[in-house]
Each structure stands twice: as structure tokens, then as C-alpha cells.
Symmetry: C3
Subunit: 204 residues, 3 copies
Amino acid sequence: MVYYLGLVGVAVFAISGALAADRKGSDWVGVLFLASATALGGGTLRDVLLKREAVFWIANPTYLWVVIGATVFTIIYVRYFKPPTNALNFADAIGLAMFSIVGAKIAEAEGMTPLIVVTMGVFTGVAGGIIRDVLANEIPLIFRSGEPIYSVSAASGIIAYLGLKYLGVPSQTASLSGVAVIAATRFAGIFWHIKLPEFSVRKH
Amino acid sequence: MVYYLGLVGVAVFAISGALAADRKGSDWVGVLFLASATALGGGTLRDVLLKREAVFWIANPTYLWVVIGATVFTIIYVRYFKPPTNALNFADAIGLAMFSIVGAKIAEAEGMTPLIVVTMGVFTGVAGGIIRDVLANEIPLIFRSGEPIYSVSAASGIIAYLGLKYLGVPSQTASLSGVAVIAATRFAGIFWHIKLPEFSVRKH
Amino acid sequence: MVYYLGLVGVAVFAISGALAADRKGSDWVGVLFLASATALGGGTLRDVLLKREAVFWIANPTYLWVVIGATVFTIIYVRYFKPPTNALNFADAIGLAMFSIVGAKIAEAEGMTPLIVVTMGVFTGVAGGIIRDVLANEIPLIFRSGEPIYSVSAASGIIAYLGLKYLGVPSQTASLSGVAVIAATRFAGIFWHIKLPEFSVRKH
């Protein structure tokens, strides 16, 4: 199941990366590159940092084909239709939910402590978007207050997943609950514009 | 031969990185750092992603000396002469050709499938320039339409190389043909300003 | 001792990363993320490039707790007090000194040649700040001439350390001397605004 969650997450993030190339004047190849970096970047960093045997999309090229398919679909779609912004925000929430839980489960399988499991899960979920924004020369969303509780959603879902497993809930149920917690808090965050307090150095 | 192709590519990319430090107000060390990141960044990412035994410039410090030499040369050269922009675009095309084929051959030697060989070759060729532009806080060339078919050149040269080898052409001849295809399409691209269609979300 | 030097360096760099989130409108999580990237980024790249057995903060989560503690401290501190800019520049100098020598000693322990030891030490010292500036969408300090001999300080301290060891000075004394050289040259650089000559392509 981790595998299919991952594929859906990759497709959704590839679309978000491809759309980020809009207004930069990219050609098709630039779009494909930005989509790949967004969809595969977080998991690649996770695999390199955890010293896994091989980077996931090199071990299994299906991921690359999913990125190529999602990018071509996006390029063709936006020629004829307006991209559905709201639908995409919700898709992005689902992608975040899937990447975070997949990242956490992989760190767990590598025998990491809970702190590292949470860190790696959040990191896998948010890193793709950060790479996308850095490459597109924008301040990453995660550093701007406009972003409603993005990583807090990811962290709380992973903690819910670990807590449920600790209480004896079967792994698959716990995973899906974690995904649901992330998607639900994120939906709520988008819907009601929930923000964490902004950080700034007060003028004294 | 892969080795010497690589050294020439490193020298050319180091010069392009050093020149990118112009107008940023860098001192000599900043120039050296930007030159190193441009010249060694693509190959470093390739080696990390492919889990090679050691990163190439750590295993063989000759590469570092070439970067240092090329940077010192550039710093001294531009004090007395105007940098030859056109010559540099052509040198950059040759660097791209060499890096792409070297990257592809290394991925091949690690037993990768053709899709990964092409991906890694293109990635090795273009990543240095992306790192250079990200560090210099500019939108990477690859995401701007002003860039005439940069990565398409790289991909077609690698496919030519793989196709020729498949047809029984000796590896060395196939490599040189791949390099020639990349350099030639890139020269043509620069000369006639060939571009791929630009991607943008239509206003509906 | 390397261990405690490293912890102090991590705390200082986490504070510098947290303060860099000021004026970007980050919420607490964004601040924590930027602090982590600044404090752990250089050492992470070092460990990945040197193919060490595990990345240091994954092998020993104490580092993560130090980053979390330093970030929370900074967030609370700046609500009530003005950040002491000068004190911070001096703290940053000490952090640079510690990271550079720790990085050099680790590269040495992995059996690297002196050129790689110096490169890795400087890289460990400066990479965190570069990552911080790239994520915050600014031109990294190291590429701007306003930066008084940052990496030259790091390199000279590491060379002093290697030279003293070569002359038979015990490793611990040599390390502390290297730290002192870096901190002292950096203090002097800040105090007297010493700069290297600026690099620019002359108009001919």
C-alpha cells in the first residue's frame, strides 16, 4: 500500500511542479525538470540521508514514467482548460499526507527513533515543495506566513500514526488514519485560513 | 578517454561559473566557490544518487586542481581582456556534450536501464548550470525560454550513443558520435536561436 | 572534544538561521526548518560526500534537540529583547571556527589527503550559511564582497591545524590553535572590515 500511496503522491506533486513553471517562460523540458524535482526531490533526499540501498526512482523507474505522464497530461490540459486552483490545493494536501506517512514508514523500517521518524516524514512531505520554490527563485511557501500550518499538519499525522501503532492498532489502519489526519487538518487550514503566529524580531 | 573528456568539461564549466560571479561583487574565494559548485556539482549529485563508491573529485583531487587552475586563469584573464562571449557559448556546448556522455557512461557502468542512463546523463550535464544559477540567485536558464534546446541536445546525443552501441558500433566511436551530436545540435541552437514551444497557462 | 565543539557550533548556527527567518513572515515551523537547515546542512553534505556510515544528526539525535532548544530560545528571546547583532557576529565566528575544524578532523579521520581535508573543512564551515541564504532567497554572503574574508579565515585555521600536527604538536592543542586562528582572523576581519579584492569583469 505504501507503494501506491507513493505513486499518487508523485503524480500530484509532479502536476504542482509543472504548474509552477507557468509564467517563468519554460519550454517543455524545463517543465519536466521542475516537475521531476518537485515530485522526486523529497524522497531522494530522504533516501540519501537514510543511506538506503538505492534511491527509490532509480531502483524502480515506474516513478519516472508517472512523472513524465503527469507532466504531459498537465501540459496538454492547460492548453484547453483553466487549472482548477482549489482542486489542486486539495490534491496537494493529499500528496503531502501520502508523502509524509510514506517517509515516516520508511524511516521506521530503517530502525530510526521516533524523533527521526517524525523529522524524516515531515521532511519527505515538504522538501519537494521547497526545492520547487528554490528552483523557481521564490521564497519557499514554508517560510511565508501565508502557508496555513503545512508542516504542523504533517507532524501531527505522523504522531497520530505512531501513537495508534503504539496502542496496538494494526499498521495499515494506523497509516490510513495518519493520512486522514494530515489531509483533514490541511483541508481545515485551507478552508478557514488557519495560521500559526508569525515570527518577527520586534522593534524595541 | 572518459577521464580526459571529464577534465575538459570541468575546466570549461569552472570558467563559466567564475564568470557568473561577475557583478555579484564576489571576492576571489567566492569566485572559486561558485566555479567549484558549477564544475563539480552535477557529477557530485550523480555519484551520490548512483551510490558510487566515492565522489569523483574526492577520489581523484586532480579535478580540484583543474578547477583552481581554471579559476585563477579566468580571474587573471578578465583583468586584461574582454571575455569572448561567443567563444564561451561554444565552450559551454562542448562542456555540456562531455558531461552528458560521461554521466551516461557512468550510469551504464553501474548497470542502469536506458531510461536512467539518459536521465542521469542529462542531469549530469545540466545540474552544474542549475546550481550556479540558484547560488547566484537567478532563475536557472533551463526554466527560461531563452535557452535554446539545452537538455534536448543532451538527451538526443545520449540516445544516439546508446543507439549506435546497440547497433554494434564500438563504444569509443559511439561516445564521440554522442558528443558530436550534442555539440552540433547546441551550436545550431545557438546559431539559429532554435527554441521549443513555451509553456504557459492560457488565460481562459 | 570534537563532539562538544560541534554541539556549540550547531547551537550558534541554529540561532543565526532562526534570525534569518525574520522579515520573511515565517511561522514557528518555518523558523525551525530554516534553523535546522543552517545548523545541520553543512555537516550533512560533508557526511554524504565523504560516504560516512550515517549522517551525524541521524546517528545522534542530540543535535536535533539542540537545534529545537536553540530555536525556541531565539523565538522567546526576540519577543522581549533586541537581538545583539555584534554579539551574534562574534558567535557566528566561533561557530565557523568550530565547524571548520570539526569538518577537517572528520575528513582526516576518513583518510583524506590534505587538499580534501582543507576543502571539506571550509565547506562544512560555510555550507550552512549558503543553504540559509539560498532558502531565504538571498545572494549568499560568500558571493558578496561585504563578507570580510570568511572562507580565507576557515582555510588558514585548518592549514594552521594541519601544520602544527605535522610539526608534532598534540592533536588537541593543534585543534584548539586552529579554532583560535579562525576566530581571531574573523574577529579582526569584522573589526577592521578587511576585504579581499573584488572580482569583476573590467569594461574594455
